[in-house]
């Protein structure tokens, strides 16, 4: 007696057999990459190299090469840090929170989103390190008994950052690897090349699909998802503490944690969507990463867009309602001051354009969707710019106001971080299965046993 209890459309389209699914996912690993792959890799590689060269010059001559100067000491590096960390959050959300909520549609995109988390956190972690100017001395950020007899200050949000980002990176990496183990085993058993087999065997650790293992495996996976969920919320909360705990008008605000987390999910989903649209096209994965999935993501983008919009509104309201002159000034300055253009880019890209997703046609149209999600990425970058840079340019004392202009080095290093991100993403698509083979098999039609009453086991 097989009854479909869900009204959901099937996760995998086209009634593929398990072998066909595996074939489809593993194809990029078994075949030589096409021209498109090399073109994409060379573009992203060029960006990456630009960033690397500019960074080396910066290390040689010092951070004076950047636009950072009084009163804007935080500028681009911190804007980029917050931006990239935010991108990472979607991955954990998709893989952990949607897993706990038993959303089957996450399966097609989870692996990819997790990989993007890891790469985004790598990009993010880069920026505070280079912002200190001498990244090779960054070991001092860790509490260890040293010859100076000094310890880090555990009540400082910057030390919280160190713990939050490194924990987030380690946990994401482990979560990702745990998901990969059964896939490594499957790849090990299907490959014919001896070198590949050795590598896959090494990483599969000798997994043999035993149910006695699956049982603990699922428990662990659920536990990790349970840990990752509060973790992901805590990470952006702590990032927002960097600002909220200070006294700068425009930063000192209690809604920052939820506001930042919503923004992170928003920007992260936009980035995942951007990359997935390309990947499903390039690797012919339309049957596994279906339009339904993209539509669901667009719905989440719409929801989080409105949450972000609500936060913008609340900030304005509180600035007026609090009656604090400086607060009021900060928000007027954002909207009508010298950086008004950045503010309006932020408002239009983050709040206005995503409203188009109310229309079903647009939600399901790939080209329009692509434009909107890219705009969201732009808008979210400008949100951080507005919060960090614009607040710093004009605070309490008009005598210490100043303007900020990025230099070519700032822009080039930002470009370089995109290069790093996309290079890693492209290499990932070639090196590892972009979709969890064992999970996608498990949710395809007829893969699970039909319902059994417990007497059947007697």
């Amino acid at each position: 007696m097989s009854v479909d209890y869900t009204i959901e459309p099937p996760v995998v389209h086209g009634r593929l057999s398990l072998a066909q699914i595996e074939e489809m996912v593993a194809k990029p690993l078994d075949t030589k990459p096409g021209k498109k792959f090399y073109i994409a890799l060379s573009i992203s590689g060029t960006f990456l190299m630009t960033g690397v060269v500019l960074l080396l010059i910066t290390f040689y001559y010092g951070v004076g090469m950047w636009g950072n100067n009084q009163p804007v000491g935080w500028a681009f590096p911190i804007v980029n840090l917050v931006f990239w960390i935010g991108i990472g959050h979607a991955g954990t959300l998709i893989s952990a929170i949607l897993f706990l909520l038993r959303q089957k549609w996450r399966t097609g995109i989870a692996r990819f989103a997790e990989a993007m988390t890891i790469f985004a956190v790598m990009c993010a972690a880069l920026f505070p390190l280079i912002h200190v100017g001498r990244p090779w001395l960054a070991g001092y950020l860790m509490p260890y008994p040293n010859q100076h007899g000094m310890w880090v200050n555990f009540s400082s949000p910057l030390v919280w950052d160190v713990f939050a980002i490194s924990t987030y990176f380690i946990v994401s990496l482990i979560f990702w690897y745990i998901g990969l183990i059964p896939d490594f085993a499957t790849l090990r058993d299907r490959t014919t090349s001896k070198i590949k087999k050795t590598i896959y065997s090494l990483f599969s650790l000798g997994w043999r699909h035993s149910h006695r293992h699956w049982q603990h495996y699922e428990k662990t996976y659920t536990l990790l998802a349970g840990f990752a969920t509060p973790l992901v919320l805590s990470v952006h909360t702590i990032i927002s503490f960097d600002f909220a705990v200070s006294l700068v008008p425009g930063w000192h605000s209690t809604i920052f944690p939820p506001y930042f987390v919503a923004g992170a999910i928003f920007s992260g989903f936009a980035m995942v969507a951007t990359v997935l649209i390309l990947v499903r096209k390039i690797f012919d994965l339309q049957q596994i990463i279906t339009l339904d999935h993209l539509e669901k993501m667009n719905k989440i983008i719409l929801v989080t867009s409105m949450m972000v919009g609500l936060a913008y509104g609340t900030e304005l309201f509180i600035a007026w309602y609090s009656g604090v002159t400086v607060e009021k000034f900060v928000f007027l300055n954002r909207a009508f001051g010298p950086y008004a253009w950045a503010y309006w880019i932020m408002i239009s890209c983050n709040v206005l354009f995503p409203q188009l997703f109310w229309i079903r046609k647009i939600r399901r149209s790939i080209p329009i969707m692509m434009v909107i999600v890219i705009l969201v990425n732009v808008g979210m970058w400008f949100e951080r710019f507005v919060i960090i840079v614009v607040s710093l340019t004009r605070d309490f004392l008009p005598s210490s106001w100043g303007m900020y202009t990025p230099t070519l080095y700032d822009l080039g290093i930002l470009l370089g971080s995109f290069g790093l991100f996309f290079t890693l993403v492209i290499l990932f698509t070639k090196a590892l299965p972009v979709i969890s083979i064992s999970e996608i098999k498990a949710v395809s039609d007829g893969a699970q046993p039909s319902y059994h009453r417990s007497e059947d086991y007697e």
């Binding site: 057999s17 398990l18 072998a19 595996e22 040689y60 001498r134 090779w136 509490p143 000094m150 310890w151 200050n153 555990f154 009540s155 949000p157 030390v159 919280w160 713990f163 939050a164 924990t167 380690i170 946990v171 482990i174 059964p182 085993a185 499957t186 090990r188 058993d189 299907r190 065997s201 650790l205 000798g206 997994w207 043999r208 699909h209 035993s210 149910h211 006695r212 293992h213 699956w214 049982q215 603990h216 495996y217 662990t220 536990l223 990790l224 840990f227 509060p230 973790l231 805590s234 702590i238 503490f241 098999k441 498990a442 893969a447 699970q448 046993p449 059994h452 417990s454 059947d456 086991y457």
Partner: protein, 388 residues
């Protein structure tokens, strides 16, 4: 395949998830203990069919998570409240709310890492890349799209014919007997392996040496040590007298400066008189300063037994009749302007401290040169056994 090889177990493959569930629950009901089901993905309902107990891995997560929280809190407490307390923004030394973020992060970190390590090593006994099942046709199939069940020969109820019959009764796609592999021995003392170890050791030590002793002193890594600025004691072209340090403008006097009238005179006609009483506080101060500034050359008790090991000529003992007969003011004078090769300590030691040192020298001199009758008197007066 030779029959002499030991049987590991008998395996059957199925094409439908329902079949394997049925087979598994039958095998479980028959009371077999050493058997396993291999499926390409997690089959729901198999836990019940195999009659597996709920996984206990959650306890490890709980336990290690608590350890993580305790580690974070005690680390923050030890460092910021005990070992290196600093007032920051008026917060208390133990600012509990401020420690919550780090505590939370370490809880998650410890729980995650240890759960996974425990799962892989304790529960799975990984890595197990040379398990018998690997590289069998059976493994290749369950890795792809078949559902397999193996009953191991290690099971006490195992009987080859019986098990085969049982498995056949489930209507499997195929049945396979799996044999133990011939054991492969990897000798440790293989020249290749040894040379690999030696090369790694050399590479690691060379790398460490070069990074710590050479690289860190190269441009731009040393730019915090060598900066483009004039530092004290250095020569510079910038000023006419080529001194890196500037002299005070002529005629200016430092804050709190009182001129010392005997400057440059080796033995003045008369000396300043000691303004400090030899109170306990003053003597304690004198002892501290003497041990800091004078003892490296003069020795802890003024015997002239320098700790400088010949890097500086040994001074004479201060217990000589000559020095004992010095007036307080003369000792003060020596500290202030120095004596022959002994430099002046006026810059390091304040006036009051100098007098305190003089008082302490008197104590040292008295202690080493008192007569028996004097000692007796002290014992009487203080009730203490000074001789000890």
């Amino acid at each position: 395949m030779s029959n002499e090889r030991k049987i590991y177990g008998i395996a059957a493959l199925f094409t439908k998830p329902d079949d394997i569930i049925k087979a598994a629950s039958k095998v479980a009901n028959l009371g077999y203990s050493k058997w396993d089901v291999n499926t390409p993905y997690l089959l729901h309902g198999m836990d019940n069919a195999m009659k597996l107990k709920p996984s206990k891995i959650g306890f490890i997560a709980l336990f290690m998570g608590l350890i993580g929280a305790a580690t974070a809190l005690s680390l923050a407490y030890f460092t910021n409240s005990i070992d290196f307390p600093l007032v920051i923004g008026g917060k208390p030394f133990f600012a509990f709310p401020a420690y919550i973020p780090v505590t939370f992060e370490l809880t998650v970190l410890f729980a995650t890492v240890s759960t996974v390590i425990a799962m892989l090593t304790i529960f799975f006994k990984f890595p197990s890349n040379n398990h018998v099942l690997h590289d069998t046709p059976y493994m290749k199939k369950v890795s792809l799209d078949r559902y397999g069940i193996v009953i191991e020969s290690a099971d006490p109820k195992f009987e080859q014919s019986k098990v085969e019959e049982l498995l056949r009764s489930f209507g499997p796609e195929s049945i396979e007997t799996i044999y133990h592999k011939e054991e492969v021995k990897f000798p440790i003392f293989e020249p290749k392996f040894i040379s690999f170890l030696i090369l790694t050791a050399i590479a690691v030590s060379a790398g460490t040496y070069i990074t710590l002793n050479k690289l860190m002193f190269m441009v731009p890594f040393n730019w915090m040590m060598y900066q483009d600025k004039i530092i004290p004691q250095s020569r510079t072209e910038l000023f006419e007298d080529e001194r890196g340090m500037r002299l005070p403008v002529e005629g200016t006097v430092a804050k709190g400066f009182i001129p010392y009238t005997y400057m440059g005179i080796d033995e003045p006609q008369e000396y300043l008189s000691n303004p400090l009483l030899p109170s306990i506080d003053n003597l304690k101060l004198g002892e501290k300063k003497y041990l800091t500034y004078c003892s490296p050359c003069h020795g802890n008790f003024g015997d002239g037994d320098s700790r400088l090991k010949g890097q500086f000529p040994n001074p004479p003992t201060i217990h000589s009749q000559r020095i004992r007969s010095f007036e307080d003011g003369r000792l003060y004078h020596i500290i202030t302007i120095g004596k022959n090769i002994m430099p002046s300590y006026a810059a390091q030691i304040s006036r009051e401290e100098r007098w305190a040192i003089v008082n302490y020298i008197r104590v040292l001199q008295k202690a080493k040169n008192s007569t028996a009758s004097e000692l007796e008197m002290i014992i009487k007066e203080t009730g203490k056994n000074v001789a000890n």
